[in-house]
Amino acid sequence: MMWVYAVVPAGAGATNLGTGAADEPLELIDLPTAVLRAVVGAVEAPLEPSEAALRAHDAAVRRAAAALEAAVPVRFGQTAVDGATLDRAIAPRAATFAGALDQVRGCEQMTLRLFGQPDPLPPADPSLGPGARWLARRRAEQAAAPELEAFLPQLAGLTRGERLERAREARGAPGLVVSVYHLVPRELVGSYRATAEAGAASLAPRQLTVSGPWPAWAFAP
């Protein structure tokens, strides 16, 4: 069984990728139909998602991203019987993977998370039907954390990509409000962090956390 860590460009090469989540040697294999390569490791059985295994998977992806020109991280738990099977699975999306590799090349991911009390949602309009009320609520949820609209442009010149993810559940207690994932050219990571941390006070009383650099997890197809 093959545990998959990352998809990388065709022709990508590295001398030593280290070991994977099961301490197995990592290797690069060709995906000839997809015209890509993959970082994989041979395992006996699917790995249990322990904290240690998750960290080891992330570490393996980090090594691949550092050693190769570009790498699209693969989610924990993805396996294939062999390289031919993996090639057939990826080939239909080869162009999408190639586009993602172009986007993440030379970049790291930085992650912002805004925590605090969620914005109260407006009361439902009783004149709307149930479907319209649901859509109105969804629009209101998407508009949560408007203070980000003033904050994020401060980082725009330092990023090459952005993904926003609202917290998936409305809740009454303070918690995660929104996550923002940025692709940042490696040489700008320090400036990005300094700018983000300097601007965090403007988001009070909500709290902003800045983490990274990460492999480009949020920019994988």
């Binding site: 998959v4 998750l54 693969v74 924990f76 993805q78 993996l86 992650t111 990460w214 949020a218």
Partner: protein, 63 residues
Amino acid sequence: MSLEPVREGDDERQASLLELVDHVLDKGAVIDGELILGLADVDLVYVRLSALICAADKILPRP
């Protein structure tokens, strides 16, 4: 899954685990769609194909 329960007040570990779970379990390319996980003290959604694992925002730093 054999995640240790995160103790009250262990903010740094909670935040680190949030980041790890979100990135490694909820992001990244999906090659094959069927994936079932069991995480102690974390709610999970059984995923298939393009569905998402919703776990990260269950692990919150204390404000």
